[in-house]
Symmetry: C2
Subunit: 342 residues, 2 copies
Amino acid sequence: MQLSERKEKILAAIIEWYIATGEPVGSKTLLEFSRIPVSSATVRNEMAELSRLGFIEQPHTSAGRIPSQMGYRYYVDKLMNRYELPINEKRLIEARLSDAGGEPQQILEQAGQVLAELTNCAVVSTTPTDENAVIRRVELVPLGTHTAMMVMLSSSGILKSRVCRTDSELTLELIETFYNIVSKHFIGKSASEVSIALIQTLALSLGSKSLAISPLLVTLSDLAQLTEQTQLLLQGQSNLLHHNDYPNAYEIMEFLRRGEPLTNLFAGHKAENNTNVLIGKENFYRELQDSSLIYSHYSVGGKDSGALGLIGPTRIDYARLIPSLKYLTEIVGKIMSDTLED
Amino acid sequence: MQLSERKEKILAAIIEWYIATGEPVGSKTLLEFSRIPVSSATVRNEMAELSRLGFIEQPHTSAGRIPSQMGYRYYVDKLMNRYELPINEKRLIEARLSDAGGEPQQILEQAGQVLAELTNCAVVSTTPTDENAVIRRVELVPLGTHTAMMVMLSSSGILKSRVCRTDSELTLELIETFYNIVSKHFIGKSASEVSIALIQTLALSLGSKSLAISPLLVTLSDLAQLTEQTQLLLQGQSNLLHHNDYPNAYEIMEFLRRGEPLTNLFAGHKAENNTNVLIGKENFYRELQDSSLIYSHYSVGGKDSGALGLIGPTRIDYARLIPSLKYLTEIVGKIMSDTLED
DNA sequence: TTTAGCACTCTCATCATTAGAGTGCTAACT
DNA sequence: AGTTAGCACTCTAATGATGAGAGTGCTAAA
């Protein structure tokens, strides 16, 4: 649907004022701050029309208008001028991310922190995944006679570690055997190929050493699984309490904590490279249907790998947040790619 | 101050009822649920006395009584029968912690999760520190021609890693030089000895290689610092929103996020091995003065290393939470010690 | 020392009233 | 035909009055 230019101006004014103040906007108020050269009666007529079309609604008869979900949607799609992020904000983001220290998780944590401060929203992000990632390196660092720390590094830069206890003593020989198995059967394989079945077969084929080495192999498989799993990071949850017309903060926090649904959501829409905006009921999950979710995928080495998302009330400053998120996502991808390639 | 037995009974009844229901307790209500064989008038007299002494107070004239801070304190110190944790809850805790997977941070995360579920409080915990910890191992895992991941393991089991970029190519020779320096100057030293000054001196002494190796040494020093730093973990923050007579959840969440004050608090009281309870204004920090903080130190290898703490409203089920926290702390210490020694 | 009884206080919910904001409609104006 | 002034109408939110109910403290009797 296409609105007349004047209707668009009025709609944009309503939305921007409402986002800024949280108050429903009346016809007179609107004239005060927006430079629309008509009388309040005309505005009223236009507003009535916009109401009929479903772009704005009234909390009650004697109140002003507030944007409907459809209104926000129109605004985001057509009206909002996605302003270029000011250079100093860009610099700020770059500066804050430059000292994050290499590992994807650290970069994301830093990015999330910045984003939470910048936007006053809750921030979610997923660690990079890469179906084609393979196990790049496995290290076994002995800690004592019966314990060792196993470290696994994937080709996509994910590092995971776990402490492993063995029943029998961790001899040099045992460790060597382990390394042999690893380099023969696992290095260069994808994590998903490290199945329990394979582990068992291998263990059995070792005969007498089987018992001694199997705890190591089990840990290996645990690690492989961990490496493969997307992790969800949450930050700025307390920002949800800022917004006072937003009573269900608890519910949302619990939803975010569950993690899994969001991970799926991000994975599902991986194709679109653009920033996505889901407003209110557009969200599949009930818990988010009073909120807006804005998310954007970052790409490492040219492939979409993970996403950063913002969650806040539907009454949120889309025009400001979207460019910030977009730019930050870009930088995150760039930094991760830098580290990985060479 | 010592109260008469009957006063103690009444005080305990008021506190327990108030903790359970959140409602101020009147003299009649009290008779209904507690088996105190006197009339409401007598209870009223006793209550008046308890009010005068400062153990209970009235929100307003026509309301019942609620415990004062002093009342809670008396209850925690003398009345509350610290009941032994039921065996099945013990088992539950043990089961949930057994598969946490070795690293201190993972153990604490798991413990915090359990505690948050069990207590409905926000949970804070600090990673183990050990002034006598030394650098046990440093590994450099090449990722590309100019990047590597450096991993540092301390004798107290802390593992930290960072990605490091070098300006010149990471040759095998360079790596070997690095390992030589590390084993000669750093292994077995405490992290605090890795000063910038030392790094600079070392770099200079290398002459031509100086420039190539200094990024590695800088990363090493970063890692040493990280290893030494106590980290604060937060969990169950959303639990703060559960309690409805507790409006300042946001303030507390922000306070917790800042982290540092709590780290200091825990470090400051390290001497006492017992569980500590700080009620309301007993807390030094303003942000906590409407809350209660219960914390307990875990010890790894016989030395106090870190702490777990619970934060909730002053109206909290002390009698149940304290034993839970205590037991969990014990187990955490035990598991960490297991991993470390051998 | 305990208890019954009673006057007193204060909160909270309910209801009526009112000021104010904002609308939609009509009729006049450009 | 589009715009505007004016006005009746509607609904909210604030205010104040009223009354029921809960709980107390005190007194006098047991």
